[in-house]
């Protein structure tokens, strides 16, 4: 498969990057985000405790349970990964929309996302694009690269399929952020929700600002 690619030693800016390294990096993002969130929560708890000791009357943060509960933790992780993805998306859009002629409408931008950008980041195109022509787009990738090598334990033994799916979801936060960043750089404000109902497929629901549901 490498026979048709230019030899990196002869071309100026081309080179090979290990796809596996990239995959491993993306995988590590999620536990890292969890670790940082837990770390910061612990530090905040220590700081709050010291404030309480000195009686500075800090308002209740919502219970005295140390650290964050499951929901807050997930939100923190989502925000962190989404923001990282967003910044990456901004840069990707600038770099890869370079040679293209100007985009004529939002659908053009979405198609660029599905075809050109997905190939750059995930080495394949989006498999299915649906739209209601009123600002909502649903992108389906039936073999989403980050989920490709995931396997879940079988349902049963006290764990339902939903909790299994919930475990996979944080790995979609970064790609969702990338989508949001690319769209924002190309002039489209949108919210992106990523879901997986069946590994290794993933769907991304893009809702542009001002669209009707």
């Amino acid at each position: 498969p490498t026979m048709s690619l230019p030899d990196p030693s002869t071309t100026q800016n081309e080179g090979y990057v290990s796809a596996t390294c990239f995959d491993l990096l993306l995988i590590e993002l999620v536990p890292m985000a969890y670790r940082i969130a837990a770390d910061l929560a612990a530090k905040e708890e220590v700081w709050l405790a010291s404030k309480r000791r000195t009686n500075l009357g800090v308002g209740g943060i919502g219970g005295t349970a140390p650290g964050l509960d499951e929901e807050e933790l997930r939100e923190t992780v989502f925000f962190r990964l989404d923001s990282i993805g967003y910044r990456v998306g901004l840069a990707l859009a600038e770099r890869f929309s370079r040679e293209r002629p100007r985009f004529t409408d939002p659908l053009d931008v979405i198609k660029f996302l599905c075809k050109d950008l997905w190939v750059v980041v995930f080495r394949k195109q989006i498999d299915n694009l649906k739209t209601n022509h009123r600002g909502v787009y649903v992108l389906t990738d039936n073999n989403f690269k980050p989920l490709k090598n995931m396997s879940l334990e079988k349902a049963g033994a006290g764990r339902s399929r939903e909790t299994m799916m919930q475990q996979a979801q944080p790995f979609l936060y970064f790609p969702a952020g990338v989508i949001r960043g690319v769209l924002s750089a190309l002039g489209i404000q949108a919210s992106v929700v990523a879901e997986t109902s069946e590994l290794p497929g993933a769907t991304f629901q893009i809702r542009t600002v001002g669209s009707k549901p």
């Binding site: 901004l90 840069a91 600038e94 002629p101 100007r102």
Partner: protein, 176 residues
């Protein structure tokens, strides 16, 4: 007496919200910055006016010939960033590197294309700097955060690269 050849007088980088990201003047001390800021602002009108008609290409080419000496060229990226180059037909004293036949016909759009290509490369490289956050340089975001002060680019590398491009350019150069 040395003849004068065209040289770049000013390079402007303008952001998505029409905010100035960076302005470089060549030679640095000798150009009145207020006048050139005004010219850059007027270029924005031309971008807006021509935008609906402009189809495929990003290169707006010659925006306006300001007077006999100065001409403005513009380029719009897909992400809304505008590069404006103001060329002074008598910008620099001729050196041995310049061609023996000065361009009596004036500049062509293709002469300025390498400048835009190099500027866009410099901007893409700026975005690859993790310490540069494009959102921080948008006035709407700065306002939301109640920040005061300029939203211009402060990256040394980018500014140096822009200056290098501006100083190196001459008509007929193909690679910057």
């Amino acid at each position: 007496m040395a003849s004068l050849v065209p040289g770049i007088a000013c390079i402007g980088v303008i952001g998505k919200q029409n905010n100035p990201l960076h302005i470089s003047l060549f030679p640095p001390g000798e150009r009145p910055s207020l006048e050139f800021s005004f010219m850059l602002s007027s270029s924005l009108d031309i971008f807006e006016q021509r935008l609906p008609h402009k189809m495929a290409d990003q290169d707006f080419g010659l925006l306006q010939a300001i007077d006999e000496r100065l001409a403005m060229y513009g380029y719009l990226t897909n992400t809304g960033v505008k590069f404006v180059v103001i060329v002074d037909m008598e910008g620099r004293p001729a050196t041995v590197n310049d061609s023996k036949n000065p361009a009596a016909v004036g500049l062509r759009d293709s002469d300025v294309k390498p400048v835009f290509r190099a500027l866009q490369t410099a901007y893409v490289n700026l975005l690859r700097n993790p310490f540069y956050d494009p959102d921080e340089h948008m006035p709407s975001v700065a306002k939301a955060q109640n920040r005061v002060g300029s939203t211009q680019i402060t990256s040394q590398k980018f500014i140096q690269e822009v200056n290098r491009i501006g100083e190196l350019w001459r008509p007929g150069i193909t690679q910057l």
